[in-house]
Symmetry: C2
Subunit: 129 residues, 2 copies
DNA sequence: TTGATTCCAGTACAGTCGTACGTGTATCTT
DNA sequence: AAGATACACGTACGACTGTACTGGAATCAA
């Protein structure tokens, strides 16, 4: 697993879109940006280029158009990023973040119940080990 | 609520210690750093100075020593930071992060049970509204 | 075919970050 | 009192970020 330099905030936004659309052109990514996130076309271009430099993407020139593909797996990046956050903001413990998420961010009833089931399932698994 | 520039990663580590120890001197913060996080004394100093510039801390000179105090509330900063992460890495939805936390980061049995109770309590509250 | 338009690749540039050094002054040790 | 320590403060500096403009090639409109 190659150790890649961490993603910056802007890069992360673009990376996420790339995971969802890979392989994609710059324009496709730019178009896929949700409206509140207005970013210049060339800004997206720059991020994609940097993503490639950092090893998170690769690209080929197809005719006159460059096609970018995600290289790093989303799950791995998510893990690295979250681990990082938890360590810096909570000194490494996960619970404060969980509590925060459940209490401070609006979680719908359905989601709550999904969570509960997830937890119950995990508890059961553990007991039977 | 003053809009402060976001904290960088390094600043966050120091900010967290400041919340726990405020008011504190540079040295106190530096000493409080957990061992794997080795940071030069003057690096901590710089972060504290920047924290003040950004409006997250204030300081007074007490004799020859500068005493720093946390200004922004931890909860607010946590919220801003987490909101930011969720929006950039998950496009705004909280659930993927929850799932990730529960499944990928080791959560102890006790914690699981605490979580379950937290959820159950929330569900109950909602139902009685 | 000529000006207008579209798009990619490269370049730019100020601001932030991580990380610390040097200098001056105050305090401790002998 | 003279050297050793400790600390505050200013300064430094390359790397990374956010954000985009520019130049040139290809495409469209008339």
């Amino acid at each position: 697993m190659a150790k890649r330099p961490a993603l910056s905030k802007g890069e992360m936004v673009v990376a996420r879109l790339l995971w969802d659309h890979s392989p994609a052109t710059v324009r496709q990514i730019h178009t896929a940006l949700p409206s509140p996130q207005d970013m210049d076309f060339s800004t997206v271009q720059t991020y994609l280029r940097r993503l490639e430099t950092k090893g998170y993407a690769s690209s080929v020139l197809q005719g006159k158009t460059r096609i970018y593909s995600a290289k790093a797996k989303a799950a791995a990046v998510v893990k690295a990023t979250v681990d990082e956050l938890v360590s810096r903001l909570f000194g490494g413990s996960t619970m404060p973040l969980m509590r925060h998420l459940i209490e401070e961010r609006s979680v719908s009833a359905d989601e709550l119940s999904e969570l509960r089931q997830l937890i119950e399932r995990l508890e059961k698994e553990r007991n039977s080990e």
